[in-house]
């Protein structure tokens, strides 16, 4: 999504409020499983499994900032289509990684 930030990018049009609502809702819905997978990867698995009775709670807490971060970024997408493509792609990659490390 950072690519959309390029200055002078001619592909970027004025997004209507309706498009932004669409992107925000898509980000909220698809960002939820994505944030679950990402925090599972980064916090649960990357730090060595289930060895502390506070850890599964911290993993749960870390879902919310991750989710907010994802929804905050979707408005950078150029169009509805690229927004969906990024979100579905990211979900797919994150789910596959979780599957791989499990």
């Amino acid at each position: 999504m950072a690519a959309a930030e390029r200055p002078g990018d001619p592909g970027r049009r004025r997004a209507s409020s309706r498009t932004l609502l669409h992107q925000g809702l898509a980000g909220a819905v698809l960002g939820f499983p994505l944030s679950i997978w990402l925090t599972g990867l980064l916090v649960h698995y990357a730090t060595g499994g289930n060895d502390d009775d506070a850890k599964y709670q911290v993993v749960m807490w870390s879902v919310v900032p991750m989710w907010v971060l994802i929804v905050s970024l979707v408005f950078l997408a150029r169009s509805r289509l690229s927004c969906w493509a990024w979100l579905i792609g990211a979900n797919f990659v994150a789910a596959a990684l979780v599957q791989a490390v499990r």
Partner: protein, 537 residues
């Protein structure tokens, strides 16, 4: 940053803000008050009627267990302390969460006595209004809604900061009190928002977790842990030896307290919560204060102990003694929301930040309204507001001022009517929602600008009733209204000063609005603008 990017985030900020603003106003206002939850309870309610009870908690527990063929699965012992002259024991019928609550004390002659003060506390009522954001729903329905609203609020914070970034340094401390009404609101909104930003980030993220943790655990069980969350949680729990199922073999409360103090210097137990009584997994959760550390709850942290051996088997929630970095991080999340560290100064700070948070949402709503009010020169000099803007303006004034007035009236009514013999939140909810609905109806009927003058004065008066009640308490005869005429306790000063401050600010705004209704400085959409100002953008 590109102009288009900024524009997008401004749109996001505008709509997330107006969607979440009203609920957040009530949540922050009530949350600020709830920093003095026990003080509000003690201010408004009759003192406990068991001052003559036996001060020996060990004898109380022994006597209670001796009289129970099968002790309840869980019960709580509350020690003597501020607002509680002697230890009492609390349990629910059948050990069920919804069972009727019973409280017993030990008489001087060794017999058990039931306390019949009606259960329910005013401070709890204020806290529940905070947690529900003023929604007239049961807590279990309101909390997920507030969780989602908190997410929307987090998004509003991110987008608001992005929008402000380019002009941050130039605009931060600029408070341009000019004739441009929208500029005034914007400067105040930016100042309150940026200075309170860390507090707001904490509140948005923690409130979202409080409201949505069930959904998140369910999703983690479905997506990351195919075996479900239950085994994950069970596997992380420390291994314990089985506890004797007969409670008479357990240590008396005084030994538990001594062991807890030894486990953590500075930890001062205030209550014991016995869980899983009659099972080999029985535990006693020792609730205690320690102002030097982050605490898991609003006033206390916990040592989880074996009731038979007195061994602390879990330190996760013991203030300052979390076993691990995970435990310390976790406790900090809770403590940063509750302001449960540093004692009274931090509580005062949180109360102020909470009320300032309410200002952020009020000014944000005002900005939304002002941006949609066209101040064009018309034949009548009326600013033009579309119907939906007039509705939002009325809702904003009605809900904000109505909830301020409603909470004060509920607290004052509880004291003057001595709870009216009603259980739980019945009286509080009745007064709060009656005032709130009346204020909203008035705002819709009179229009926001006109109604606000009266409602500001009314809310100021309602808040002033709190310190005024404290004043008259000293002069009215005790037999006439025993709860009103009770002696003044040290904690009351927090309640009186807080409401005096709120009343003063509201009274100032009311006078200002009355004196200059046409300038529209403190209010939206004044009905008549003098010539010359009407054309300002």
């Amino acid at each position: 940053m590109r102009v288009e990017t900024l524009r997008r985030y401004l749109v996001v900020h505008t709509w997330t803000g107006i969607l979440s603003g009203l609920l957040l106003f009530v949540a922050f206002y009530a949350g600020g008050l709830s920093m003095f939850e026990p003080e509000i309870t003690r201010w408004a309610q009759a003192g406990p009627s068991h001052a003559d009870a036996n001060p020996d908690a060990d004898a109380l527990v022994a006597g209670f267990l001796a009289g129970q063929p099968t002790p309840p699965r869980s019960f709580q012992v509350v020690f003597a302390g501020e607002g509680n002259p002697a230890p009492f024991l609390r349990y629910r019928e059948g050990g069920r969460r919804d069972g009727a609550e019973h409280r017993v004390v030990l008489d001087a002659d060794g017999g058990l006595r039931s306390l019949d003060d009606p259960p329910g506390e005013v401070g709890d009522f204020v806290d529940r209004i905070h947690r529900k954001g003023g929604l007239p729903l049961p807590l279990e329905y309101a909390e997920p809604i507030i969780g989602v609203v908190a997410l929307v609020y987090a998004l509003a914070l991110v987008s608001g900061v992005i929008v402000l970034l380019p002009s941050l340094v130039r605009d931060l401390f600029a408070l341009r009190i000019t004739r441009n009404i929208k500029r005034n609101w914007l400067d105040l909104h930016n100042l309150v928002g940026i200075t309170g930003l860390p507090f707001h980030i904490v509140m948005a993220l923690t409130a979202a977790v409080f409201g949505l943790h069930d959904w998140i655990y369910d999703a983690q069980g479905a997506l990351v842990h195919p075996e479900g969350m239950r085994p994950v949680i069970a596997a992380s729990a420390p291994q314990r030896d089985p506890v004797p199922t007969d409670p008479s073999a357990w240590l008396p409360p005084s030994r538990i307290v001594a062991a807890a103090r030894e486990a953590s210097p500075g930890f001062e137990p205030v209550a014991l919560e016995y869980r899983g009584v009659g099972t080999p997994g029985a535990a006693v959760h020792v609730a205690g204060t320690d102002d030097a550390h982050f605490k898991r709850s609003a006033r206390v942290g916990y040592a989880l102990m074996d009731p038979a051996s007195g061994e602390v088997f879990r330190r996760t929630y013991l203030p300052g003694y979390g076993d691990s970095r995970w435990a310390r991080a976790l406790t900090s999340f809770f403590a940063l929301h509750f302001g449960s560290y540093g004692g009274t100064p931090v509580r005062i700070l949180y109360a102020v930040l909470g009320l300032l948070g309410a200002v952020l949402f009020y000014t944000g709503n005002m900005l939304w309204i002002e941006s949609r009010t066209r101040r064009i020169r018309t034949a009548t000099g009326m600013p033009e507001q579309p119907l939906h803007v007039r509705r939002v303006a009325a809702l904003n004034v009605g809900v904000c001022l109505g909830s301020i007035a409603g909470l004060s009236m509920a607290i004052v009514a509880w004291r003057w009517l001595d709870g009216a013999g009603m259980a739980g939140d019945v009286l509080g909810n009745a007064v709060f929602f009656a005032v709130l609905v009346a204020a909203v109806v008035r705002a819709f009927r009179r229009g926001a600008a006109q109604a606000a003058i009266g409602l500001l004065g009314f809310a100021a008066l309602a808040c002033a009733l709190v310190p005024l009640t404290s004043l008259v308490a000293g002069v009215i005869p005790h037999h006439w209204a025993p709860v009103v005429a009770k002696p003044y306790l040290p904690g009351f000063v927090f309640v009186d000063v807080l409401f005096t401050m709120i009343a003063s600010v509201l009274a100032f705004l009311a006078l200002r609005a009355r004196r200059r209704p046409r300038r529209g400085v403190a209010l939206p959409a004044s009905p008549v603008l003098p010539p010359g100002q009407a054309s300002r953008p």
